[in-house]
């Protein structure tokens, strides 16, 4: 019995080969349909996984979403409550593997006056009270020179974004600058009690909030000026991640530093959660619809192809092919087509998703390997399901086919 089985198997594959390659145009069309389906499936699934993650990072253009302040607001005007600076180091450096940007601020009201010998108009010698903010910024656990806009998004109206940590320079809010008629390059005198300091204006920023009335200096300078070494007024952090994971970050932090008041900046966290839900909803819905209907389209194309096999089925049955074997033959053909189309399509899908990721987020989407076997498997399933009408063909009576009856 071994020999006939062997011959049978050989014959089986021979028929399959002939079925596939007898008509190259047809083969091309089916592979195109299946391949496109697989490519779109792979690319969209990949984008779907990647885009949600990236969106939460993208939300950080809104700036800080967590604030850490001293417990109980300032009761008296003269001694605002402060935090110990060491708290700053206690913030977890990352959330969900993405570094957290955090900034510490110390605010004070000091006398400021422009100090430029060349500018001798009346207003330039005016001294007035203004709010100064000393700040230091860290991304993850490293201090960085740049990045005020990561906490307080703003645009530079005049001057340049300078590296100004450890340098005697300061940035001014738009209102403050126009009040004192200051431009980049001007020198500013700061006075608080008997302490005094000077700084050079490097840039003027527009925030559209109370920050427009403030001067931003390096934290150490302000700590020295206000005689509050090692103290900060508040800490703000821009924590990436989904709304739930930011919530967990806040809860963990609140437990770790009970002496401070850790809270989300609700204006941003709530809006983010809402918008995130909407966008990921639209994305999921669109991707689901596209996948479902791509599957159906491919299936329709396969069905069309299967229907034209009536003559072949009739002939096979006429020369003694058992229904089950005939059926197996065509299903094997469909599976083979699905596999090839799926593999080709998934490969195209990788390229497509890299391109899509680049176009949307400027960074190539990281290919998720799990997506590709899923896409290939789905294609095979769709191809076999598309060949399903062949089951009905097995009930075909050979004679009626040969008579040319429809």
């Amino acid at each position: 019995m071994t020999a006939p089985v062997g011959t049978n198997r050989k014959m089986f594959w021979r028929i399959i080969r002939r079925l596939l390659f007898a008509h190259r145009g047809r083969l091309f069309v089916i592979l195109l349909a299946l391949g496109t389906g697989a490519a779109v499936t792979a690319a969209l699934l990949n984008l779907q996984v990647d885009a949600k993650r990236r969106l939460t990072t993208e939300f950080r253009v809104l700036g800080a979403n967590v604030i850490i302040a001293a417990r109980g607001a300032s009761d008296s005007r003269d001694s605002p409550k402060v935090l110990i600076e060491s708290l700053f180091g206690q913030l977890p450096a990352e959330n969900e593997g993405i570094p957290v940007t955090k900034a510490e601020f110390l605010y004070g009201i000091v006398d400021i006056a422009p100090l430029d010998p060349k500018e001798v108009n009346a207003k330039s010698h005016k001294s007035a009270k203004a709010v100064v903010a000393g700040f230091a910024i860290a991304v993850g656990s490293n201090y960085v020179a740049h990045g005020l806009e990561k906490i307080f998004p703003s645009t530079v109206v005049e001057g340049k974004n300078l590296n100004f940590l450890n340098v005697r320079t300061c940035e001014l809010g738009q209102n403050l600058a126009s009040e004192f008629q200051l431009h980049p390059g001007a020198r500013l005198a700061l006075k608080y009690g008997d302490a005094a300091d000077v700084c050079d204006v490097s840039a003027i920023r527009s925030f559209g909030g109370s920050e427009d009335n403030q001067a931003f200096l390096e934290l150490r300078a302000v700590q020295t000026l206000l005689k509050l070494p090692g103290r900060v007024s508040l800490i703000q952090a821009s924590v990436p991640g989904t709304p739930e994971s930011v919530g967990r970050y806040i809860a963990t932090l609140a437990k770790a530093i009970p002496e401070a008041d850790v809270r989300p900046i609700r204006q941003f966290t709530e809006a983010e959660a809402r918008i995130y839900d909407r966008i990921s909803g639209v994305l999921t819905a669109t991707v689901a619809i596209v996948l479902l209907l791509t599957g159906l389209c491919v299936m329709a194309a396969m069905t069309n192809v299967a229907m034209e096999r009536r003559n072949d089925v009739g002939l096979m049955k006429a020369i003694g092919g058992a229904s089950r074997r005939v059926q197996r033959l065509f299903l094997a053909e469909a599976a083979l087509l699905g596999l090839t189309g799926g593999l080709l399509g998934a490969a195209a899908g990788i390229a497509l998703s890299i391109g899509l990721g680049k176009a949307v987020f400027g960074v190539a989407a990281r290919p998720r390997l799990i997506v590709y076997p899923v896409a290939v498997a789905l294609t095979i399933i769709v191809a076999i399901a598309g060949a399903f009408p062949l089951r009905r063909l097995t009930s075909i009576r050979p004679a009626s086919v040969f008579r040319g009856e429809a």
Partner: protein, 456 residues
């Protein structure tokens, strides 16, 4: 004869045709749904972004420099300038009035606050608890204002700042009621229904000031009682403040009809390089184009025109973030739509190619009977087009339904069906089926009738 052939072909083998039409309809349904959702989603999301609150801030031009830390202004009460409340309805007369979603004027000051124990326990009559200095915010809770064209416009803090949560209810703008920040309420044990006192402006001239028991001069100020209607939690500085109706805040600081800050929430288009340019440097035609796009800066510009003495600033944090995220999401959805269109087009093209391929015998027969390649091609193309119109039409209807379901599920509102999409979809269906059948048709036109008819 031509029409008869086409009609016959469609009616005689209904199953085949049904399959091709189904594939077409499904493909076009995806395309329709994806297109309508994408076209609609920008507007819907822009609206969602208003949950970030105001993106424009209006302050008096002549204002002195505010000394604001953590939401508390450390300036003396009399410093600084104010803007007239009466000008506010003009906001709804600017060119972009439909884009103004809401606005709310604010008057902040700091006042001595105390619980009115006398109102709660008769035994305290005549004395009140210690006064504490707290920030007070005068604003509109929910206000319906009459705008110059005669309609009413509902606005206020509740609408402008959706993240402000109220336990209890907002105050009504015309009664001496207030809401108290949650942290402040916790600190002093204030509950909903209590009465609090705020010490307002001096009611007697300084010369009649009395000397208190420590020997200091104390001016006589009136105490204003407010009933606490709700507890406010915002996650911001308002948690430590008392919020009262604007009208009474104006009375307390002696500035009737004035406010200090105005927050405006407007629907905008993300700024591009053109939108960021300074309108002063533009040529007249550029200025016109610029002011006819709802950029946040051009809305700011037109608000500035109707509010004399005001300085309108863009809240960068909200506006820039919104612009960037919107731009990203739009690209994302357009690409997904494009992928959907591509997939639909290829699948439909493939299925119409398959349907031409299987008709080789028919083509052979027609050619044997003397039909030219052109006639055969024309016949088959006409047939495919007929299917495309049917499939495209059904697909459009299906797609609109689908878009409706998706839109309602996600945004609570269905996208408007648009005729433009119908035209695009029918055109796409026709193009794709023709393209799909073109290749096999070209090959078919080269067929020799004889071998085909012999079944080779």
């Amino acid at each position: 004869m031509f029409v008869r052939l086409v009609a016959d072909s469609v009616t005689r083998r209904p199953r085949q045709k049904l399959l091709t039409t189904a594939a077409l309809a499904l493909g076009m349904a995806v395309a329709t749904a994806a297109l309508s959702v994408s076209l609609d989603v920008g507007d819907r999301l822009a609206r969602e972004f208003r949950s970030l609150g105001a993106n424009l801030l209006v302050t008096p031009q002549a204002d002195s420099l505010p000394l604001e830390i953590g939401g508390v202004d450390y300036r003396p009460v009399n410093a600084g300038a104010y803007l007239p409340e009466a000008d506010l309805p003009k906001l709804k007369t600017i060119f972009w009035h439909n884009n103004i979603v809401s606005f709310v004027p604010v008057l902040e000051f700091s006042a001595a606050f105390s619980q009115d124990l006398a109102a709660q326990h008769p035994k305290y009559s005549g004395q009140v608890d210690n006064f504490h200095e707290v920030p007070v915010i005068g604003t509109w809770a929910n206000r319906s204002i009459r705008i110059p064209d005669g309609a009413n416009f509902a606005t206020g803090a509740a609408k402008t700042n959706p993240w402000w949560h109220i336990d209890g209810s907002w105050f009504s703008d015309t009664v001496k009621e207030c809401v108290v920040g949650r942290q402040l309420a916790q600190r002093y044990g204030v509950k909903i229904g209590d009465t609090i006192l705020l010490r307002g402006r001096e009611i007697a001239p300084p010369s009649t000031a009395i000397i208190d028991d420590t020997g200091e001069r104390v001016s006589i100020r009136e105490n204003v009682a407010f009933v606490v209607r709700g507890l406010l939690s915002t996650g911001g500085p308002e948690d430590n403040a008392v919020v009262i109706p604007l009208e009474f805040a104006q009375q307390m600081v002696g500035k009737p009809g004035k406010y200090r800050k105005l927050y405006v929430s407007a629907l905008t288009k993300p700024e591009d390089d053109f939108g960021r340019r300074d309108p002063k440097t533009m040529k007249p035609d550029e200025l016109e184009r610029w002011s006819c796009s709802p950029y946040v800066s051009s809305i700011a510009y037109s608000i500035q025109q109707v509010l004399p003495g005001a300085d309108v600033r863009v809240i960068r944090r909200v506006a820039e973030g919104e612009g960037r995220i919107l731009a990203r999401v739009r690209t994302l959805l357009w690409l997904v739509t494009l992928a959907a269109l591509l997939a639909a087009a290829l699948a439909v093209g493939a299925s119409s190619a398959a349907s031409v391929i299987e008709r080789r015998t028919e083509i052979g027969l027609m050619k044997a009977l003397g039909a030219g390649s052109g006639t055969v091609g024309f016949l088959l193309a006409a047939e495919q087009l007929l299917l495309a119109f049917m499939g495209g039409g059904i697909g459009y209807a299906l797609g609109i339904l689908l878009a409706r379901v998706v839109g309602e599920k996600i945004f609570g509102a269905a996208p408007e069906p648009s005729l433009l999409i119908l035209v695009v979809i029918i055109g796409l269906a026709a193009g794709v089926t023709l393209l799909g059948s073109a290749l096999p048709l070209r090959r078919a036109s080269r067929y020799e009738p004889a071998p085909i008819l012999r079944g080779e």
